[in-house]
Symmetry: C2
Subunit: 663 residues, 2 copies
Amino acid sequence: MTSLGDKDSVQMHNLFQGSWTQVSCPCCVSDRVEPLVLIRLSNKVQPITKRWLISLIEASKRHGGAALLAHPGEDECGDVIVVSAPRCTLLRATEDLGLCKKYRNGDMVAFSYQDRDNFSNVDNMQEFLTLAERQYIVKNELDSLQAQKKQRIPGVTEATGVLEAWGNIFQKLAKAGMIKDIVPLHDQQRLNDLGKTWYSGKQIWGQPLDAIHSYFGGTVAFYFSFLDFYTWALVPPALLGLVLTFLMPGGGSSGEAMGDDDGPSVSGHMVQAVFSMLWSTLFMEFWKRRSSSLSHRWGTLQLSEGFAEPRPGFHGTLGINPVTGRLEPLFPEWKRQLRVGLVSVPIVVLFMGLVVLGMIGFYHGEALAQGFHQDRGSWFSRALLYLPSVVHIVYTNMLGNVYSTVALQLTEWENHREESSFQNHHTTKVLLFTFFNNFAVLFHIAFYKQDLPLLRKRLASLLILAQLLNQFTEVVVPFIVDRFLSAPQKDQQEDKLDEDTLRAQRFLPPFPGLFGEYIELLLQFGFLSLFSCVYPLTATLLLLNNITEIRGDAYKICKLFRKPFSPPVSNIGVWQTAFEVLGFVSVMSNCWLLLLSPRVQEFCLEGGISSKNILLFAILVEHVLILFKMVLAFMIPDEPDWVRIKREQKEFQSMQALGQQKL
Amino acid sequence: MTSLGDKDSVQMHNLFQGSWTQVSCPCCVSDRVEPLVLIRLSNKVQPITKRWLISLIEASKRHGGAALLAHPGEDECGDVIVVSAPRCTLLRATEDLGLCKKYRNGDMVAFSYQDRDNFSNVDNMQEFLTLAERQYIVKNELDSLQAQKKQRIPGVTEATGVLEAWGNIFQKLAKAGMIKDIVPLHDQQRLNDLGKTWYSGKQIWGQPLDAIHSYFGGTVAFYFSFLDFYTWALVPPALLGLVLTFLMPGGGSSGEAMGDDDGPSVSGHMVQAVFSMLWSTLFMEFWKRRSSSLSHRWGTLQLSEGFAEPRPGFHGTLGINPVTGRLEPLFPEWKRQLRVGLVSVPIVVLFMGLVVLGMIGFYHGEALAQGFHQDRGSWFSRALLYLPSVVHIVYTNMLGNVYSTVALQLTEWENHREESSFQNHHTTKVLLFTFFNNFAVLFHIAFYKQDLPLLRKRLASLLILAQLLNQFTEVVVPFIVDRFLSAPQKDQQEDKLDEDTLRAQRFLPPFPGLFGEYIELLLQFGFLSLFSCVYPLTATLLLLNNITEIRGDAYKICKLFRKPFSPPVSNIGVWQTAFEVLGFVSVMSNCWLLLLSPRVQEFCLEGGISSKNILLFAILVEHVLILFKMVLAFMIPDEPDWVRIKREQKEFQSMQALGQQKL
C-alpha cells in the first residue's frame, strides 16, 4: 500500500517524505493511492496531536476510526494531512448514501455492498465513483468521526482538549482552531481537459454536464444544468420582447426612449402578461422533468439521507432510531416544527419589517432633507441631502450582516437531522431577506407610488448597469488577475506537479458557494416575470447576460477558487420552490401592472368604465390565470414517462423483495 | 369439502340441494364453507351455460379459472350461483392487493403468501380477512376472468355467444343479459349485532368504525369515519355561530328575523371570515392525519393497485407491462392525459356553460313574463308567470341526465387502468357539475346581484327546508316502510335463515353508492364555508342535522339496501381534494361577502374611504389569508408521527431487502 502507481508514484514520492498508512483489509490492496482531500492544520498543532489524528483516520470503524488512508504530507511536523480512501470504505459509503450505479444489466440500481460484484467497474474506483463522490465520501467520513469515550486530545492543554463521549471530533478540532480547513484536491490534468471543453469555446451550444458532474459533483452540476436550461428558456420571451418593442405599433417608443412616459400598447401588455404566466409555468414544469432525468442519469434518485447518519451539527438525546434501529441522537420532529413556526418565522418577519421600516425612514428622511434644503439652501443643507442615502445604505448593510448571522444560528438551533434539510431552511431564510431587500423598492414604486415610468427607468438601469457591473467584477477582473498578474507563478506550477501544487491550491480563496449564483438567477427571473410587461426588452438583455454568465461562472469555479465539496443531490432543492412561488407572485404582479398601465387607464376613461369595475375585472383575470396556471402545472407530469417507469419498477421490485426476504 | 361446519352446515344442507365444487388444493380442505357472493343469472340461462360457468369459477388459475368454490343454489336449473373462496385464493389475492396484516411481531406488514405462516390468524380466514375483504376478493376474481382463447359460450346462440381471446367473461355475460347481478351476502347475525351498537342508541358519542370496516369494507368505513369527524368538527363553528347570533351586539336581529336586511356586525363578520378560514384548514389537515392513521389500522397504507391486474373495463394493445413484466393490455399515459385535457375538460366546461346559460335564460324569461303580466294582467299572463320556472326545471333535469351519461362514457373512454383512478375521474366530473348546479344561483345572488338579504333568505330556506326534506325522505320514510309495511315478512325471515333469506336479499334495492352522501356533505361544507358569515347559524343547523344523519345513514345501509361491495381504500380519494379546493374558494368568497356587507359599506361611507381603496384592501386581505392558509396547511404534517415512523421503517426495510435479494 505504500507503493503508488506508474507516473503518479514517482511524483508522489518526490512530493512526500512520509508514507501512506496501511490498509487493514486485504481486498483493498491496490498499487495506486489517489490523494483526495487535504486537511490543513494550524501551525500550533503538535506532532503528537497530528499522529493521533492520523491514527484515528486510519483506524477501522469498529475502533471508532474513519477507515481511510492518511499521509503526513512533507514531514511529521508539517501542517497538512493528505487523506485518501480504500475501496471497502468507498463502497460501503456508496451504499449508505443510497447512490445508484450501473448494474450488470445496464440499469441504474441502488448500490448494495453485498451484491457489489454485479455492478459495473466495481474494481476500479476511479471509474465506479466520480472524483467528486470520492472526495465527498472522504469528507463525510471525517465529519462523522465521534469520540468513543471521554478523552483528552494528545498534545493539547486541558482547557480545550477534552472530548466528550459521542462528541464530534472534527467539529471540536475546528472550534479549537486546530483544523483550519478541509479541502478537496484538484486534479490538474482533468481540470485542464474540462476547462477546454467547457469555457474555451469548443462547445458553444452546450456544456459538458456529465464531466462537470463527475469532476465537481452534484450541486455544482445541477446549478450549471439549471443555468443552461434557463438560458435556453429565455429565447422565446427574448424574441417576444424584440417583436413587441420593435414591430408592434405603439411599442417602439418605449424601446428606444426608456424614460418615456409611454408604455407598450394595451394589447401588447396583455399578450406579455399572459405569455409571462404561460412561460413561467412551462419553464418550471419542464425543468422538473429535466431535473428528474438528470437525477436518474447521475444515480441520485434514491438518496437515503434520512436513513444515514445525522449531520455533524445535529444533537439530541441518545436513543434508538425507530426507523433504522441504530443508536444515535434523537430529536422529535414536532419540537423542530415548533421552533421553526414559533421562533424562526416571527424573527424572519421581524427583519423584513425592519427592511420596510428602513425604506419608509429613507423616504421620510429624504423628504425632510429636501424641505430643509429648499428652506435654507446653504452648503450644509446641500450636504445634508446625502445623509438619508448614506444612513440608509449603512442601515441596510448592518441589517444584512446581523441577519446573516441570525439566520445561520437560528437554522443551527432548529437542529435539522439531514444536511439537505439544514441547507433548505438556511437558504430559505437568506433568500427571503435578500429577495425582499431587492424588490421592496420596486414593489413600492409599482404598487404604492404607482409610478410606472419611474419603475421602467429603475428596471432598465438595474438590468443594464447591475448586469454590466456584475459581469465586470465576476468575470473580467478575476480573468485579468489570473491571466496577467499571477501568470508567472502559474506557468511554473503547470509544469511540475509537486508539493507546491497542493500548497497553491490551499491558498486560493475558498469557493463562496452557489447561493450568490442562484440568487442572481432568481432576481433575474423576478425582474423578468414580475415586471417584464413594463419593459419588454428584459428577457433579451438577460439572455445576452446569461450567455456570458455561463462561461464566466465556469471559468471562476475552475480557475479562481479552491475546489468545493459537493454532495450528491437529486434536484436544486429549495430553489425550485422559490422559482415556483415567484411564478405565482408574477401572475398577481402582472395583473396589477396591467391595471395600472396608463394605456389601460386611458382606455377605461374613454370607454366610460368605472375604475371599480376595471378593478373587479383585473381580480377576475388574476384568479382565472392562477387557476389556469395550477391546472397546467398539474397536467404536465413532473417526470418523463421513462423515469416514472424506472421508478415504479424499483418500487415493484422492492415490494417483492421485502416479501421474499422475510422467509 | 362438501361438508359444512357445525350449525351452518345443517342450515346450508337444508338450503341447497346441490353441493359445493371440490377444491383442488389439499391445503385448503376445511370443514366449513362460507357462502360469500351470489351471482344472479337471467331466467333464460340454460343449465349447460350454468354448468360451464360453475366449472369456470372452480377451475384453477392455470386453466383460466377463478379458483373459487361454486354452489348451484337450490338446483341445477335455478337462477343463482353461490360463490365462496378457498384459503389459497384468498391469501394470494391478499398479497396481490397489497393489504397489510398483523405480523407475528404485532406490526402491520404487507402480506406475503410465501411468508404466510408468520402472520397472525392465517389459518382462520374469518379472522384473517374481514367479511368485506373476502367478498371483494371473490368479486375481483370473478371480474377478472378472461377467455383463454376464442370460444363459444355453451348453450347460447351464435350471435351474442362468442368470446374473443383475452376478452373479459363477466363483462360479456353481463352485456348479453345473462348475469343480472353479483351480490355480496349479508350475515344476518353479525348485521344485527352491528346495528345494535351502531344506530340503536347504545353508543351515542361514537360509531363502531372497526366493526363497520370489517362488515361493510373500506369505502363505507371511510365515509362514516369522515362523517363522524366532520360532525365533531362542526362543534366549534356551531358554538361561534350561537355566540355571534345571540350574544354579540348587533348580531341578534339577524338570528331572530332571518329576512331582516341587517347582517351581523362588521367585527362579527370579520371574526367569522377569519375563523372560517382557520377552521376549514385545520379541519382538512387533521382529517388527513386521522385518515392516515385509520388507513394504517385497516392495513391499506400500501395498496398496490398500480401493480395489480388492470380493471375489467380497461383495454389496450397486449404487451409486456414494463414495471411488473406481466403480459397485459397497455395504454400509454400521455394518450390518456390528452383525452382528459383536450376532450373531457372542454366538454365538462361546455356543460357548465349550459348551466349558466339556463340560469341566464331563466332570469331573462322571468323578467319577460313579469313585464307581460304587468301589461296584460289576464289569467293567461298569470299562468305564463310559472312558465320560466317550469322550463328551467325541465331543462336542468334533462341536462343533468344527459350529463351523467356523458360523464360515465367519457370516463370509460379515458381508459383508466386502475379502478380508483376511474372512480376519481368520474366522481370529479359529476361533482363539478352538481356543485356548479347547486351554487351557481347562490354565487349569482351574492356576487352579481350583490343582494345579501336575498342570499341570507335563500341560504336559510335551503338549510332548513332542504335538510328537513332530506331527513324525511332519507330516514323517516324508509323507516316507516321498513318497520310497518314490510314488517310481517321480516319477522319471518329473521327466524329461519334459509333459502328465502338469500332470495330476500336479492330483492332489496341495490345500494345507490356513496356519491350522494358525500355530495350532501360537500354542499353542507360549501354553505358553511362559503356563505356562513352571512348566516352564522349555519353550523348549528348542520350539526343538528348531522347527528341524525349518522344514524339515518347507518340504518339505511344496514336495513334498506342490498349489501354493497366495498374495495379496501387508503383515503376518501377525490373528495378530500374537493373539500380542500372548497376551502380555498371559501377564503375568496368570505372576503367578498365581507366587502359587500352593508355594515362595511356604511362604515366606509362614514369614514370617507373610497370604494376603490376598500376594494384594494379586500384584495390584500384575501391574498394574505390564502398565503396564511397555505403556510398553515404546509406546517401541519399530513400524517401523525407514529404513522410516519412506521412508513419510514417499511421503506428502510424494503431498501435493505432489495439489496439482499439480488445476491
